[in-house]
């Protein structure tokens, strides 16, 4: 029996390896070329990467911070304070957008025709207008138009004034509102804009998820005597989550990235601090690297958490 020797170019194991290898090599060469180019040009311009400036005093102030900050502290503290501000708005935004988005998404299955149509109008209106415009609208048209002082809008436990949102039984002391919790209008405008915008997309994700559950499940639940609310909570949503969670991941990541539009409404987030830092130090490449790295880490973190959640809601095959 003659031994059939397969020529190497028809070897089904070897060829994919060769293709992958050569693409990988080409990529490495490209990266090496770009890196070399960067270092060469930065050296020529006398701007080789350095990080010592991070320890220099920043010299500028930040309007609202969780970490104490003043102008005498170094740049890295300023950037950290900015990052914490970003995290604050992203976390609050994730919670708010999820709640609002789920409500709107579920409302589009409501038996009430008015509610159903309102949900559609909301989604179509919000997701078709650029976020930047919406942020400018919320800040300049809505929040900055709030009355100040004694004329502020007073709701039970909440006061809406031009100087901020006051929560928890606010009192007017000498023409200035005092309350346990104060949100600035900049933070409120950014948060509102992000929540309203992202919720429109999340509503569509939820709607798709709920629609993916076969109609028979609703009917079976009703025949067992479940109320519509119980059906949704016990039967439909657990099944819909398998479809919803992966799609939700990209909406969450979008929200985190969109938070960098904060500078449009005067909120001092990481991007805003980085921009001032870039201007004061002239360290464009370093500052942009820090920005890239921070947002990348933030989004990878969100992705990792969402993938973990996805593992929990997936069907466990036995």
């Amino acid at each position: 029996m003659a031994v059939v020797v397969t020529p190497w170019w028809r070897n089904r194991r070897l060829i994919p390896w060769l293709v992958q290898g050569s693409v990988g090599l080409a990529l490495l060469v490209l990266i090496a070329f770009l890196l070399g180019n960067l270092v060469r040009n930065l050296t020529a311009a006398g701007l080789l990467l350095s990080w010592g400036w991070l320890d220099n005093p920043a010299g500028f102030d930040i309007s609202e911070t969780l970490l104490p900050f003043d102008a005498g502290l170094p740049y890295w503290r300023a950037l950290l304070a900015g990052l914490v501000n970003t995290l604050r708005v992203v976390l609050a935004g994730l919670v708010g957008a999820t709640v609002l988005g789920t409500l709107v998404g579920v409302a589009s299955f409501s038996g009430n025709g008015l509610l159903r149509r309102l949900a559609r109008v909301y989604v179509e209106l919000i997701r078709n207008i650029p976020l930047l415009l919406q942020l400018l609208f919320w800040y300049f048209v809505v929040f900055l138009a709030l009355p100040g002082g004694a004329e502020a809008i007073q709701l039970p436990g909440v006061v809406l004034a031009k100087s901020g949102l006051y929560l928890g039984n606010p009192e007017l002391v000498n023409g200035v509102w005092q309350a346990p919790l104060r949100l600035t209008v900049e933070f409120s405008a950014l948060l509102t804009g992000l929540v309203v915008y992202t919720a429109a997309f999340i509503a569509e994700v939820v709607r798709g998820g709920v629609a993916s559950v076969p109609g028979g499940q609703w009917e079976a639940a009703r025949s067992l005597g479940f109320t519509p609310a119980m059906t949704l909570r016990r039967i439909v949503l657990p099944q819909a989550l398998r479809v919803i969670v992966p799609a939700l991941n990209s909406q969450y990541i979008s929200l985190a990235k969109n938070s960098s539009l904060a500078v449009a409404c005067g909120f001092t987030d990481l991007y805003s601090v980085a921009e001032t830092t870039l201007n004061q130090t002239g360290r464009a490449v370093e500052v942009i690297l820090i920005l890239l790295g921070s947002y990348l880490l933030l989004d990878l973190l969100i992705s990792a958490l969402m993938n973990g959640l996805n593992g929990l809601v997936q069907l466990k095959e036995r």
Partner: protein, 353 residues
């Protein structure tokens, strides 16, 4: 070795910004920048674009202002035509990156000359002589009862991000130990919109800019500048350290505008002065300045009559000032520090010799 480890962590990201560093490295006696401008037959000038008196877009799309006239003078001197300018509106955060990357040839955008911006270890800019000596001021509504900086303690102040203004404000408020809330915006439009909406008790910027912006307010008389001057703000056109020959050319074109005023040469009389200089060989200073004799233009890589071209295009420094921000304008600013040195001001051109 902290720096090394941080660097290695970020190494994969470097590729993404590799193209940022592709600036030309010019230099030498021949200016690459000037050659590029001549080949393009157009000067690309970075301006603010929304600041009446300094650079402002007219309803017909043309630009006017003191900063714009500097662009025109440079275009006239280099290309022989003040209209061969392409303007780029830059906000205060974009401006240095636009200049460093070569996107604009010249930055004529009310930019304060400072050590960190000038030094090679900082922004690495090369400044021409200041065209406007300014100081930082604060503007507040007249009805607010705010009369000095100390009255602003604990109050929000609107400021444009990425400016020296932001730092000066922080410094002065620390000195008088007054806490305050800086509200930072990316563009001057947003800054003044937030101020006019009443979000801030005051807005701070260069005094000339405040006066200029005030003219476009619904009711300019409802706002007043506080007497406090927070800083020195010499506003100067800028190029980069990468091309010293180009920087020198721009520098001396600006000096020419100042020297023309000192020598009494105006847009209207410049042709007569040239004729006079040509006729009278004894007026050596005038002949050299106007390029009738000597080779100053050649030293700079410019035409011999570059000063004549610049003045013919936009007038001398005094004319530029009065037309854009002085008595002939809506701003009605006093010459103040911007008078000629002979009149007690700071405008002083080194000798053309």
């Amino acid at each position: 070795m902290v720096a090394r480890s941080r660097l290695s962590l970020l190494t994969p990201l470097l590729a993404a910004v590799a193209l940022v560093g592709c600036a030309g490295d010019g230099g030498g006696i021949q200016s690459q920048k000037m050659a590029a401008i001549k080949a393009r037959d157009k000067l690309i000038c970075g301006v603010e674009g929304k600041l009446p008196g300094f650079s402002f877009v007219n309803p017909d799309g043309s630009y006017t202002g003191l900063d714009v006239d500097v662009c025109k003078a440079v275009a006239a001197a280099v290309l022989g035509d003040p209209t061969k300018v392409e303007y780029r509106d830059l906000n205060s955060s974009e401006r240095f990156a636009a200049l460093a990357s070569g996107e604009v040839d010249l930055l004529s955008r009310n930019t304060t000359k400072t050590l960190s911006r000038d030094a090679p270890g900082g922004n690495g800019l090369s400044f021409a002589p200041p065209v406007f000596y300014d100081g930082q001021g604060v503007m507040a509504p007249t009805t607010s009862g705010i009369r000095s900086l100390a009255d602003l303690a604990g109050k929000p102040i609107c400021v444009e991000t990425g400016t020296t203004t932001e730092l000066n404000l922080a410094d002065r408020m620390r000195e008088i130990k007054a806490p305050y809330t800086p509200l930072k915006f990316q563009t001057s439009d947003q800054t003044y919109a937030a101020y006019l909406q009443g979000r801030c008790a005051a807005v701070t910027s260069d005094r000339s800019q405040l006066a200029a912006k005030r003219t476009s307010f619904p009711d300019p008389t409802a706002h007043a500048l506080l007497p406090d001057v927070l800083s020195k703000e010499p506003l100067a056109p800028a190029t980069t350290n990468a091309d010293p020959a180009w920087a020198d050319a721009v520098r001396w074109i600006v000096f020419a505008l100042k020297q023309a005023e000192e020598s009494g040469i105006t847009q209207a009389t410049v042709d007569a002065k040239v004729a006079q200089a040509k006729a009278d060989t004894n007026q050596a200073d005038l002949r050299r300045f106007l390029g009738v004799e000597g080779d100053f233009g050649k030293h700079l890589g410019l035409p011999a009559d570059f000063a004549v071209r610049a003045v013919k295009a936009v007038g001398n420094y005094g004319e530029i000032f009065e037309r854009n921000v002085g008595a002939g304008s809506q701003l009605k600013l006093e010459r103040g520090l911007n008078r000629q040195w002979k009149d007690g001001g700071l405008i002083y051109s080194p000798p053309f010799r």
